[in-house]
Amino acid sequence: MKNRKPAADFTLRDANGTAVKLSDYRGKVVLLNFWATWCGPCTLEIPWFIEFEQQYKTQGFAVVGVSMDEDGWNAIKPYVAAHKMNYRVLLGDDSVSQLYGGVESLPTTFIIDRAGRVAFPPHIGLAGKNEYLKEIQSLLGEQQRTTSLFNRPLPLAALRFGPTK
């Protein structure tokens, strides 16, 4: 997506009460998923996200789930345990959902690049697993391309030695 816009930063709390900022994840590719325990289509995607987290975390990738459950951690914690969710879950609120267009329906998912920018149009509703994979892999590949540019040896002409008189 051209002209990537910055993903709005926010601070929400995780299950331990720790304050977590989206900007804490700068430098990583982030799949930001708005979901809820009562959302059936969300349940279909969660196993994929568990897989992505496991497979790509060492490459600088993270899934962040923002739950929009009105019943809060009383509803979320048992669900996270039952579904063996291995990624960070935060308790969302209306102000954060407004930052992301209102989030009128769930699931709504944003893929964010390492610079903290929304890299693709949001997925509103259930998306295909391969759609997510393509986007994640392309952003993980961006870092590798950038790194390899800097790892190449510089041509001799670009180097200057000694003081100039």
Binding site: A36, T37, W38, C39, G40, P41, C42, T43, L44, M68, E70, A75, Y79, E104, S105, L106, P107, I124, G125, L126
Partner: protein
Amino acid sequence: MLKHGTTADQTLKVTVVPGFHVNGDKPKDEFLIPLKLTWTGPLEAKSISYPKTEEIKVGNQDLLVLTGSFLIHTNFSAPQTVAPGSTTMSGKLRYQACNNEMCFRPSSVEVKLPVVVE
């Protein structure tokens, strides 16, 4: 019109937008939001009867849902303590709607029921 010491039935017709479903009053999964009608006001809602659900599968989830139009019946009684005359019962129907790809947040719709007590 309702006399003291008697009961009367009220029927609420609900229509779900085509393509969407709402959970029934007794979903299979504890995490799902049930359909629930509540009343406030001077009359007593002695019983509320919800329609039979249909079972559908969304992914690997079996859901008990309602689609299209359906009826919810409430049986009211007027206790002796209720003063004769016009009054209003306020109902709130809580629901949560989805289709096969997305869900909307739980929401409520309010209804007003004018009643004359004799």
